[in-house]
């Protein structure tokens, strides 16, 4: 699944480059990219909960259970950061859609979402790596 997040991040990045290159439809591409990122976030949100509950049930000692809880806290933080980056990009896109102009800071917004996606992928992978 980590690969899925990374692929989504890479796709997002590539689409952002494409948005800069294709003129009139740049805003449409950016909106579609944001939707891909948002769908990724929803998948991650559901997956974190399911993986964490399974990991806690599998834990063989109280200490191992504590590690699960700490790891899952970090994953929730990563999800929160991803969502915050997405909301920032979405707000900029909503404004841009009203005036039909691609935001000047779109590359920075996309970079923030992509970085957050990578962090989220790492966090989910760390849950998967639990015994």
């Amino acid at each position: 699944m980590m690969d899925g997040y990374l692929v989504a991040g890479i796709v997002l990045l590539l689409m952002a480059f494409g948005a800069g290159a294709c003129g009139g439809s740049a805003l449409d591409v950016a909106v579609r990219s944001a939707n891909i990122a948002g769908t990724t976030a929803i998948t991650a949100h559901d997956e974190i909960r399911a993986l964490c509950v399974d990991a806690e049930k599998r834990a063989s000692t109280p200490e191992a259970g504590d590690v699960v809880i700490a790891t899952c806290d970090k994953a929730e933080d990563a999800y929160g950061a991803f969502r915050a980056a997405w909301l920032t990009m979405a707000a900029a896109l909503r404004t841009a859609m009203l005036v039909n102009k691609t935001p000047d800071n779109l590359p920075a917004l996309v970079a923030a979402v992509t970085d957050a996606a990578k962090n989220l992928a790492d966090a989910v992978e760390s849950i998967r790596a639990l015994p």
Binding site: V31, I42, V53, A59, G65, C72, G80, M97
Partner: protein
């Protein structure tokens, strides 16, 4: 001569194909921005995990 005609014919087909794609793009509906993903619910997950922890080890 035949090669030239074939080349021109192919060029026309390519141009027509591009024109069709440009036309499709122009008439395609504008994408809508999806609703925001659900907020993080760290406390709820934390409570659920601590409950499992408590059931297994009593603390």
């Amino acid at each position: 001569m035949i090669d030239t005609i074939k080349t021109v014919f192919q060029a026309i087909l390519v141009a027509l194909g591009l024109a069709e794609k440009i036309s499709d793009a122009a008439t395609a509906p504008k994408p809508e921005l999806m609703p925001a993903p659900p907020p993080a619910d760290k406390d709820a997950l934390d409570r659920e995990l601590h409950e499992i922890h408590k059931q297994k080890w009593g603390k």
